[in-house]
Amino acid sequence: MITYSNKIKEIAKRLLKECRAEMVIGFRKGSIPMMNEPCFVRTDEQADDLVWDSHCGINLANYLTSRDEKIAIVAKGCDSRNIVNHIVENKINREQLYIIGVPCQGMVDKRKILAQTEGEVLQITETENGQITVKSANGEKTFSKSDVIQQNCSVCIQPNPVLYDEMVADPVQGQTDIDQFADVRALEAMSTEEKRAYFDELLAPCIRCYACRNACPLCYCPTCFVDESKPQWLGKSQDIMDIKTFHFLRAYHCAGRCTDCGACERACPVGINMRILTKKLNKDCLDLYDWQAGMSIDKRPALDVYQTNDPEKFIK
């Protein structure tokens, strides 16, 4: 990871020096274990702050929306797919961007580490061969990285950027023969009553902080439907129907656009796996239209085009 960090610093400095970019968007080291802070740098000195490790799970495409500068951006596989989305949806121009591609080896899920560590996590270190060592108030423990990465990373189909101007390293081996949608099939198999109970339990801890929505690069509406006040569309209390309406409707707004980057789940302060909702729609898009979001800037999204052979079995 140090080699990635060094390469990112080197590229950032070069781009700023050559005036290829006004700013470079990346991560700087966080102030607590397992957290990094998205940041922008404009000078050589600031570029030294840029880092890359397994705690860069926030999707940086979120920071590009409607900006007008010439920007260099550090992008792992899913970030690059959301940059593609942004370009296709006219939220940024390709010409404005210099994409520094990072072959991704998965992002650590801090909740998995916390759940398996006795005592408060004080420090976390990572070796090049995929070992994660956690120093806690009660001692030291080593994990294999593959056991503690985010669930979306463990079923990731695109760890390498789909669109880039320069890579920081050689592409990593992508995963083949993975079952992306086992959890969705389990949900589909439930009866209506079971689904209702499942969703009630899933969303009960929600405090409506909207971290999931705001961490999502797709959620760039100037006014979200939950914030509409003239007229108001949704109640603002802890009523479970209002909470469910928010999550379900937001998922539908992401249909055919979601890259399963996991930023929503990662951002949630109360650990809700709302990804199950967007994943169901991802699976439908794949089954019905052979569509996966953000793979190419030359293709229109599945729900944006009509084709004569579109399936219509669901029209009754």
Partner: protein, 351 residues
């Protein structure tokens, strides 16, 4: 102030006695983390917790709270009348609230209980509640209470302070409310030792700091216009996590909800991080960008509050916003930037 010794073996009996008199709240482990919950069916507070994910402010300031109800149904005898929500004034007690969270409630009180205005909803719940604190012997790495006007054995806002002494608790009675609870529990063995030794040890464990010493005298506009805000606010996604997990954030939004012929007015937690928080009816938003909103949150906590009340900062150093922010905005770093800027201001004036 009396100090009582409670053997851990006696704790369960006292608990049972308390449950007859009080509605009890305490920390319990949910799936992956602790939160304060009402303790029903004899459930006990799990006092082995380090910190809860959300603060216990909801015990006196629920996230959603009804204010009054009405019906337009002419068949009802109460048609077209506002009906106050029945007062919740049964005795309640929180077992195991941390000193930082209790201090936060006394800070929040400055907003809800003033000379000019007394918030009946907040005060009803506050007055009905006895706060039994649990001193913090293993503070988190992200805690900075000792530099935030608080501490692991701080007593402000508490009626009783418990200190865990392995096989027993020492309970310091701080108020009459506290004495009443001790009596109800039947805990009365006078202790010979005090809490001082453990207090010193606990305080020495807190190494994280917040710097605020230059802020009260500093030029507000110079801080407001400081050039670090763009960099400091860049990562912020304007979610409500920091404000909702914060024990001292007190903002709320009033909503009317109507279902057919029945309606109610309620209030819900609000967050200065949300764009809609300040939108005027004209559509104009005086805090249109995230820079405005992030600056507001920190200026309120670390500058406006300091100047208005002269009671220190509106933060108790619980560290929740630091550990829960999805993009690592850290109040300790921001306060450092503000404090440095403020020291520059003073120098400029002296020149």
């Amino acid at each position: 102030m009396k100090v009582i010794k409670i053997d851990k073996a006696q704790f369960a009996d006292g608990y049972k006695a308390l449950q007859k008199v009080y509605k009890l709240f305490g920390p319990v482990k949910e799936k992956a983390f602790y939160n304060f919950k009402e303790l029903v069916d004899g459930r006990q507070a799990d006092l082995s917790f380090q910190n809860t994910r959300l603060s216990p402010k909801s015990i006196v300031f629920p996230q959603s709270e009804d204010m009054f109800t009405y019906t337009l149904d002419e068949a009802s005898k109460d048609a077209n009348q506002l009906k106050p929500v029945p007062e919740k004034n049964e005795s309640r007690a929180v077992i195991g609230i941390r000193p930082c969270d209790a201090k936060a409630i006394s800070l929040v009180r400055m907003n809800f209980d003033t000379q000019e205005y007394k918030d009946p909803y907040w005060l009803n719940l506050f007055n009905a509640t006895t706060f039994v604190g649990l001193a913090c012997d293993s503070p988190c790495q992200s805690c900075f209470c000792t530099t935030a006007g608080c501490g692991p054995y701080h007593e402000d806002g508490l009626d009783i302070l418990l200190s865990d002494q392995t096989d027993h608790f020492l309970a310091k009675e701080l108020t009459d409310k506290g004495a009443k609870l001790m009596k109800a529990a039947g805990w009365k063995t006078k202790a010979t030792a005090g809490l001082e030794d453990k207090k010193k040890t606990a305080e020495s464990k807190i190494t994280a700091k917040i710097s605020t010493d230059n802020l009260s005298g500093a030029d507000t506009l110079a801080l407001y216009n400081a050039n670090f805000w763009e960099d400091a606010s860049f990562a912020c996604i304007n979610c409500g996590t920091c404000t909702f997990v914060c024990p001292t954030c007190w903002c709320f939004d009033i909503q009317d909800e109507v279902h057919a012929k029945n309606g109610k007015r309620m209030r819900n937690w609000d967050s200065c991080m949300f764009p809609i928080f300040t939108v005027h009816t004209t559509g104009h938003n005086p805090r249109e960008t995230k820079l405005h909103r992030v600056r507001q949150r920190f200026m309120h906590k670390l500058k406006y509050f300091v100047d208005k009340y002269e009671k220190g900062i509106m933060c108790v150093g619980c560290g929740r916003c630091v550990s829960q922010c999805p993009v690592n905005i850290d109040i300790r770093k921001i306060s450092e930037l503000m404090n440095k800027q403020a020291s520059k201001n003073i120098c400029a004036v002296q020149k």
